[in-house]
């Protein structure tokens, strides 16, 4: 429900609740006022009559225009004035008027008189009807006005909020956003808060990005120095013991530079620096990577069973596709046993790599974490699967691992949006032919 609708509903229900109460008060007030005015007038009439009685006019001659009756009484009652209201003077229940009678008591020339005047005033039911009519019109008008003006007003007042929301929707970590000016205090506060938050996010993102860039440069250079010096040292006149030491150092430097490169890659992935805009033939990537690993497969005498569908167009950055395939296949080879097997299945929906190997020592869900590796191979850096996971996250794929003795099964489910279907494929190929 929209904010403006909520406000309108609330407002209308308040009016609906208060209207009967106010109508009741209104009815009472009008009635009382009419009564008071009428009583005052009738009293005056009675006074006038009494005055005429005092002047020696006989009671019988007093009946002129107004329905005033003069009666002689034996004694005066306690009250000097008696007011009687008769709601049903006609005797039926639907009289349009009520009769108001004012009896005044006077002593004129030693005689006691009762002067009684009466008049007809609108029945309270009539007043009520009039009020109900008014209330009905009033309600209708209010609902209409509130409904329309609230909408119009919300367009105007909530305009800033809507704009702010639009800006937030399109927020990109790479640049700061400017929020619209407003004079509403709450929106001003909201905008200031959002501005602070997004600016901080942008700043932090830039800092992280800068760090990863600096890290690459600043760490690669000393590593290059170390490596160069070690290489020069290894060519000088050294004995076997020294050679072994140098080899170990070489190894450590190598590993350090590998970790460095992998971490930089991970941060690049997390920063979404690989924007995907085109589809590539993933089957071709798979074949190429497989070919590149041929010699290593041969060395371990691993049988490869491949079941690759043709024409699989996947929306993925070419570098990432290469890396994904490399990491997965590299893992399958590294963790394999001598004379093992690898099964590679690639369809439009998924990529599955099954390989033989020793049973895993780490729980499967931990394998995708950084620096997590099974002990079989302490040589590896332990970032391969973390990179795979990050690539899958960037591309909206789902990666899972499970072990079903004796096979390790790694499965990557492609998201349906990123695979081009058969119909679109022809179009793609035509475009490719044209551009070629």
């Amino acid at each position: 429900m929209k904010l403006v609708d909520k406000f309108t509903l609330w407002f209308i229900s308040v009016i609906v609740i208060t209207t009967p109460i106010t109508s009741y008060i209104c009815l009472n007030n009008i009635e009382k006022k009419i009564d008071d005015v009428e009583i005052a007038r009738l009293k005056a009439v009675n006074e006038h009559t009494a005055a005429r009685l005092g002047n020696g006019v006989a009671p019988g001659q007093l009946r002129d225009t107004s329905p005033t009756v003069v009666t002689q009484l034996a004694a005066l009652p306690n009250d000097s004035v008696l007011i009687r209201k008769d709601p049903d003077p006609d005797g039926n229940r639907h009289s349009l008027e009520s009769r108001l009678t004012v009896n005044s008591y006077y002593t004129v020339n030693g005689k006691h008189y009762e002067v009684s005047s009466s008049n007809y005033i609108p029945a309270s039911r009539q007043i009520l009807n009039a009020i109900l009519d008014t209330v009905a019109w009033k309600l209708l008008l209010i609902v209409l006005c509130v409904g329309l003006s609230a909408r119009f007003l919300s367009q105007h007042i909530l305009h800033t909020l809507r704009q702010t929301m639009k800006k937030i929707h399109g927020f990109d970590l790479k640049k700061k956003i400017a929020f619209p000016e407003t004079n509403t205090v709450e929106f001003k506060e909201l905008n200031t808060f959002l501005k602070k938050m997004t600016d901080k996010a942008v700043d932090e993102y830039t800092a992280v990005k800068e760090f990863s860039e600096n890290a690459s440069h600043e760490l690669q250079t000393p590593l290059a120095v170390l490596r160069g010096k070690l290489e020069l040292l290894s060519e000088s006149d050294i004995d076997e013991g020294q050679a072994a030491l140098i080899a170990d150092m070489h190894h450590a430097v190598e590993k350090l530079s590998k970790i460095n490169r992998s971490l930089i890659l991970l941060s690049k992935l997390e920063n979404n620096e690989f924007v995907v805009s085109e589809h590539i033939k993933f089957c071709r990537v798979a074949r190429d990577v497989l070919a590149a690993y041929e010699d290593r497969l041969e060395m371990k005498n691993i049988q490869v069973k491949r079941d690759l569908d043709k024409n699989i167009l996947l929306k993925i950055h070419p570098v990432l596709a290469d890396m994904l395939m490399n990491n997965l296949l590299g893992n399958a080879i590294r963790h394999n046993i001598q004379d093992g097997t690898i099964e590679l299945i690639l369809t439009h929906k998924k990529l599955v790599i099954k390989n033989t190997g020793l049973p895993p020592e780490t729980p499967p869900e931990e394998l995708f974490e950084r620096f997590r590796k099974s002990n079989q191979c302490s040589e590896s850096v332990g970032l391969g699967l973390a990179i795979v996971k990050q690539i899958c996250e960037v591309c909206d794929f789902r990666v899972s691992y499970h072990y079903k003795a004796p096979l390790h099964i790694l499965q990557v489910d492609f998201c349906p949006d990123s695979v081009i279907n058969e119909a679109a494929q022809d179009k793609f190929e035509a475009a490719e032919m044209q551009s070629a």
């Binding site: 690459s216 440069h217 690669q220 250079t221 000393p222 590593l223 290059a224 120095v225 170390l226 490596r227 160069g228 010096k229 290489e231 020069l232 290894s234 060519e235 076997e240 050679a243 072994a244 140098i246 080899a247 070489h250 190894h251 430097v253 190598e254 530079s257 590998k258 490169r261 992998s262 690049k268 590149a292 690993y293 010699d295 290593r296 060395m299 570098v319 490399n326 990491n327 590299g330 893992n331 590294r334 191979c377 040589e379 590896s380 850096v381 391969g384």
Partner: protein, 227 residues
């Protein structure tokens, strides 16, 4: 061959310098943009090793400058930036090759030789050492005139060894040269041993001398003093 090294890091520059001098090259050093510009104007070099990030300018500017002045030296870009965009920018800007830090010196040497071959020897593709001849164009290797049946990887390996003869090549540097980025995934370098073994077998089968020495713990060396 005369080489100019434009590199702001003195340590790396001196490593490269020592390495190239040992190889018998004439090697000049420039630590900043201005110095490099001056040297390029005054002297001519066969090849320039160019760092992209210099304290007082961008290496790419230097490439532009060289193009404007019609300086014909080959350019090998050395950079810590390994993003694809940087590589593309460097190569399209006029670089002949691009190598990222940290690199192995023999790898640098091999690439330098490759640029030299292409640029100065007008694309002569034959590398010869005694009875061994390598044709980098057709990827054919012959020993005493008879063709060796070797794989692409073995060819690259032999070429790498011959170009860096009498130099200790660590298994890592061989792996990086042959497999490039793929080595990130490799647990050990046994497969280098395997390739060397095959290569030795094939050369001796063609009655070639066994020039490849194993340097204990470190790697291999193509020993040219053997006959």
């Amino acid at each position: 061959m005369k080489v100019l090294v434009v590199e702001d890091n003195k340590e790396i520059a001196s490593s490269i310098h020592d390495f190239l001098v040992r190889e018998g090259y004439i090697c000049e050093l420039a630590y900043c943009f201005d110095e490099a510009q001056e040297k390029l104007l005054l002297y001519s070099y066969d090849c320039v090793l160019l760092d992209i990030m210099l304290p007082d300018g961008n290496g790419l500017e230097l490439l532009k400058f060289m193009k404007e002045k019609g300086i014909q030296s080959g350019v090998l870009i050395i950079s810590a930036k390994d993003a694809m965009d940087d590589k593309i920018r460097g190569l399209e800007g006029g670089g002949d090759d691009y190598i990222t830090k940290p690199f192995h010196l023999p790898e640098l040497h091999a690439r330098l030789r490759a640029i030299y071959r292409r640029k100065q020897l007008s694309g002569s593709n034959i590398v010869t050492f005694n009875e061994i001849t390598l044709n980098t164009d057709t990827l054919e290797a012959t020993v005493h005139g008879s063709l060796l049946d070797i794989t692409r990887k073995e060819f690259d390996l032999l070429l790498y060894l011959v170009v860096n003869k009498n130099r200790v090549l660590s298994r890592q540097s061989i792996a990086t040269h042959l497999w490039g980025d793929y080595t990130d995934n490799l647990a050990n370098f046994d497969f280098v041993y395997q390739h060397i073994k095959n290569l030795r077998k094939k050369i001796s089968a063609a009655n070639g001398a066994d020039y490849i020495d194993t340097v204990y713990g470190l790697g291999y060396k193509f020993n040219s003093s053997k006959t």
